[in-house]
């Protein structure tokens, strides 16, 4: 028996060491230790030998098994490590998967929405072709009011509707104000509206279509201090904590008091340069919602107050990135789009 064990061990070693690929090695292993493998068969014979010899033979079998397994282990490691090593130039370009690009406008919208959604604002959508009523009349801008000249509005060929008036391309996102009040029926309102707007003008800083974003916040006891707090929060998050925000008096029909919102110039950090007005850049407009607008939206102005703010997305992009001619944003030159 012990001879047989030695013979098997020698045979197994030769077999294992002659295997040149892992698959062969596994096969040889099964031939030895499998269900009817050579070694397995040998252990089966253990039951038929005399009791006195059992411990000795058992020990021999164990030693042989350990030895074969060790040989197997070594051969396995040897074959496993056989993958050729090559010189790798880690500075050569990697093989990338292709990514696309998000338009600068969408990136800005994404950032703005993320900031305001933390304050409980939710993004809503309203018609871009809307009634005169929502775009002007309900916002305290009666027909023939000179303030309406500033908006340079596009009109749609269609018959006017009683009370609602003509169809216009919304020249600002404020058409969402009374619509949101009608939708929610009562405050609290924390609405964001980002939409395409249209005005009859084109030059370096104007395109006939542009994007505006607007926030509307209505609740009990809402103050100018709250408006300041909200805009300070936004400018710090969007432009960075070093930029300051200020409110200046302004005039809009749908807010009272009305403000112009300025941020310190990113180029000179507020000391004054040729890109800004004495260190400040105009961001947009804001104000406390005019009581007449609340009334138009069936909200009691004696109980509720609120603020609204809004500005052009293109403008914030220009302030942030330094793109001088905003028409670039709509030329869709792939070399421009792929920069972002």
């Amino acid at each position: 028996m012990d001879k047989e064990i030695k013979k098997l061990a020698t045979h197994a070693r030769t077999g294992i060491n002659s295997a040149s690929v892992l698959a062969d090695l596994e096969k040889i292993y099964l031939e030895i230790f499998g269900k009817s493998g050579t070694f397995t068969n040998l252990t089966k014979q253990l039951s038929s030998i005399p009791k006195s010899k059992k411990p000795k033979i058992g020990q021999l079998l164990n030693e042989a098994k350990k030895e074969i397994e060790k040989t197997f282990e070594q051969r396995h490691n040897f074959l496993k490590k056989k993958r050729p090593k090559e010189f790798i130039d880690i500075t050569a370009p990697g093989k990338k998967l292709k990514l696309g690009h998000l338009h600068l406008i969408s990136q800005a919208i994404d950032e703005i929405v993320a900031i305001f959604s933390k304050l409980g604002f939710s993004l809503e959508s309203y018609p871009e072709v809307d009634w005169d009523w929502y775009a002007f009349e309900s916002l305290n801008m009666p027909k023939n009011h000179p303030a309406r000249d500033d908006w340079e509005t596009f009109f749609i060929k269609s018959a006017p509707k009683p009370h609602f008036g003509s169809q216009v391309l919304t020249p600002h996102t404020s058409n969402g104000q009374v619509r949101e009040m009608e939708k929610l029926k009562k405050p609290p309102i924390r609405m964001l509206n980002i939409a395409r707007c249209y005005r009859r003008q084109i030059d370096v800083s104007h395109t006939p279509m542009f994007h505006q974003f607007e926030g509307l916040f209505i609740d009990e006891y809402i103050t100018i201090a709250n408006l300041k707090g909200t805009l300070n929060y936004f400018t710090a998050k969007f432009f960075g904590p070093k930029r300051q925000m200020r409110l200046r008096p302004h005039y809009f029909r749908f807010t009272e008091p009305s403000f112009e919102v300025d941020v310190t110039c990113g180029v000179c950090q507020g000391s004054g340069c040729r890109f800004c007005k004495s260190g400040w850049v105009e961001l947009g407009g804001a104000g406390m919602v005019h009581p007449k607008v609340l009334e138009a939206g069936n909200i009691n102005p004696h109980k509720y107050t609120g603020f609204a703010f809004g500005w052009g997305i293109e403008r914030t992009i220009a302030i942030k990135t330094g793109i001088g001619d905003i028409r670039l944003l709509y030329q869709n030159d792939i070399r421009f789009l792929e920069q972002f």
Binding site: L123, P208, L247, E256
Partner: protein
């Protein structure tokens, strides 16, 4: 509108020992904005933006009044000095005064009309200081009389005019609306052909003034003028505005008349003009004051609750401070412990109407920069996230799927609109387009994307772009249908690539799409290479290959696969719910099966047959290969399917698999006359 204010002139009325830059900064924070401070010689010029409601601040004195209130509030010593002569008595200096016969046919056109005649006038250049001031704001000095009218306008914001009295025929004036086509030669030497309803003055048969805009040449001041009519009015703002729009011609005077005039400031302005005329040319008053007032101005008192003021500001301002601020702005104030009553000064009557207007006056002069800054508290509104948050996520996902986003104009040219073959009754057309390039609201985004590819195809190959935007379809009697669309265009891709991308999109949107034969009218895609997409029973989009007409129009290289998906509709539909299924405990048997089918046999039908014949053992069917070759026969295709046989209690046996496979093969040959490839 912006006005230019020389600081040296401002200091005539604003006595404050403080630097020009400081005045500019404080004014910007609390009043009209100083957009630029320009150094000019030893003086500074402020470039001031005055909002259209502040007609009272369109003047040097108006700015001084604002500055005085604002500086005083900041505890800077300041005093407001009125120009000399505002209260000069307007009585004739001679015993038999001259007369001017004035008739006004419609008093609505001219709420207040004043005039006075001066004689003994000697025309010469103005004193140096007047010339310098006019020129520093861009107005050419002409002579001592004409310069006074410009000077008064800049100083007090009240435009005025001067006539040569001797050139007014019969010394008669009729102020009336113009008739269509009437002509007048104005001071600039141009002949204006008037629309109906402009305000004009006729003497006897001649128009001598285009009121509020520019005087007539026939009655102007010349070197020989001896007697002058000094002329100060208020005109109906709307009429002036409409006339300027109709003539496409606007003057500094007209701009001020359009904003509205302080009716109580008219006589003081005339007095000031007489005072200056006496100063610069020794003139004498030669007539009684002509003052025709159509509307008596009413005093307006506004009450503001102090509680409301506090609720708006977020901070309490003392009654004393409030009263002081309003007083500095010219309001007469009375207070009780709860309420402020303020009488609005005549120069603010058009602007300050409600208590919120008073709040603005108090808050801005107090200083927005002095107010606290707090985030609002309170309940977050009900309702939660809208679908639009999902749109942002969708756009990002498309970016990671290697698409580039474009944003193109929603207004398109007629040619592009026609390319979409939209019916006329569905067209949303602009009534007043800027140019023919922007005339129609687009009914589809795809024509714009085709254009983007056309414009970039020489720069990059196989362009793959998307846009999310609304499209517009007319809806008679109501607003147009304005649904949000996702459009994708992919150059040199085939139907299966765009279909695969659409399937990815629906995985992101958590809806299951069905692709069906297109049944509607289609003007964008090739007839045989288009599918309609449904979710449940709702039609949600189209995908396919753009037709030759579009390819030819834009001269596109290769084919363009595209889709347009209606996100507005999709977001209305329920999402599918992901549910837990146990991971199989026992391994599956996987085998491939290949067969030759007729080319037009639909894979959906083949797969349906497999599932039917193989149920319940076949758990999954994947198409792994399709190919066509002459060798396998004309109009034939070879399809290889990968079948997954699986049980939940054990691994399927060889025998089970064989039985099911035979059933499937049998079904193939019966239903499709397919030949199995072994």
């Amino acid at each position: 509108m912006n006005i230019r204010v020389p600081v040296s002139w401002l200091r005539d009325y604003l006595k404050a020992n403080i630097a020009a830059k400081t005045i500019a900064n404080l004014l910007s924070l609390s009043g009209p904005s100083i957009e630029r401070v320009e150094k000019r010689g030893d003086d500074y010029i402020f470039d001031v933006e005055v909002t259209s409601n502040r007609s009272d601040a369109f003047s040097v004195f108006g700015i001084a009044r604002e500055a005085n209130a604002i500086l005083t509030n900041e505890n800077i010593k300041s005093e407001l000095i009125s120009p000399k002569g505002l209260n000069l008595p307007l009585e004739p200096d001679r015993t038999n005064p001259l007369t001017l016969d004035v008739k006004i046919t419609d008093h609505r056109l001219c709420p207040r009309f004043t005039a006075i005649i001066v004689d003994n006038v000697k025309i010469k250049p103005s004193p140096a200081i007047i010339c310098k001031r006019l020129e520093s704001v861009g107005i050419r000095a002409i002579n001592n009389i004409v310069d006074i009218s410009n000077y008064i306008m800049l100083e007090l914001g009240q435009p005025m005019h001067t006539f040569d009295f001797d050139k007014i025929k019969n010394h008669k004036m009729t102020l009336r609306p113009s008739r269509e086509g009437e002509k007048i030669k104005t001071l600039d030497g141009k002949v204006q052909k008037l629309p109906k309803g402009a305000i004009v003055i006729e003497d006897e048969g001649r128009l001598i003034d285009l009121c509020g805009i520019m005087g007539g040449e026939n009655s102007q001041i010349t070197r020989r003028t001896k007697k002058v009519v000094l002329f100060v009015q208020a005109y109906d703002p709307q009429t002036i505005r409409k006339t300027c729009q109709a003539l496409a011609f606007r003057t500094e005077a007209a701009t001020r008349f359009e904003k509205g005039i302080d009716l109580e400031g008219i006589v003081p302005a005339l007095s000031r003009a007489v005072y200056l005329t006496k100063q610069v040319s020794n003139a004498k008053i030669a007539s009684e004051l002509i003052d025709i007032t159509a509307v008596k101005s009413v005093e307006k008192t506004i009450s503001l609750s102090l509680n409301k003021l506090k609720n708006y500001l977020g901070v309490e301002i003392s009654v004393e401070k409030t009263t002081k601020i309003l007083g500095l702005l010219g309001f007469a104030v009375k207070t009780t412990p709860q309420v402020i009553s303020a009488v609005v000064p005549s120069w603010r009557i058009l602007d300050v109407k409600d208590d919120v207007d008073l709040i603005e006056e108090i808050a801005r002069v107090y200083g927005y920069h002095h107010l606290p800054s707090n985030l609002p508290e309170g309940q977050i509104p009900q309702g939660g996230e809208s679908d639009l948050a999902g749109v942002i996520e969708l756009k990002k996902a498309l970016k990671y799927l290697s698409l580039t986003e474009v944003i193109s104009y929603s207004i398109i040219a007629k040619e592009l609109f026609e390319l979409s073959k939209t019916k006329e009754k569905e067209a949303v057309e602009l009534a007043n387009p800027l140019t023919s390039e922007w005339q129609f609201m687009r009914p589809t985004v795809l024509v714009s994307l085709a254009q983007v590819i056309a414009e970039n195809q020489n720069i990059e190959k196989d362009i793959k772009v998307f846009e999310v935007a609304k499209t517009y379809i007319k809806n008679e009697g109501d607003l147009p249908k304005q649904d949000l669309m996702l459009a994708i265009a992919w150059q040199n891709a085939d139907f299966y690539q765009i279909k695969g991308l659409v399937e990815n999109v629906f995985e992101i949107l958590l809806r299951i799409p069905k692709f069906q034969k297109f049944t509607g009218e289609n003007h964008l895609f090739e007839k045989e290479e288009v599918a309609q997409i449904k979710v449940g029973e709702s039609l949600v989009g189209t995908c396919g290959i753009l037709n030759d007409q579009i390819i030819d129009y834009f001269n596109l290289e290769g084919q363009v696969a595209a889709c347009e998906i209606n996100l507005s509709t999709i977001y209305q539909l329920p999402t599918f719910q992901l549910s837990y299924k146990p991971v199989p405990k026992y391994s599956a048997v996987i085998e491939d099966i290949s067969a030759i089918f007729n080319q037009k046999t639909l894979l959906a039908e083949i797969i349906a047959q497999v599932k039917k014949a193989g149920s319940p053992l076949v758990k999954k069917v994947d198409v792994i290969d399709i190919f066509k070759d002459e060798k396998i026969g004309k109009d034939k295709k070879s399809v290889t399917l990968r079948l997954t046989y699986q049980r939940s209690d054990r691994t399927p046996t060889q025998e089970e698999v064989i039985i099911v496979r035979e059933k499937i093969i049998d079904a193939f040959s019966k239903s499709f006359q397919a030949i199995i490839r072994r």
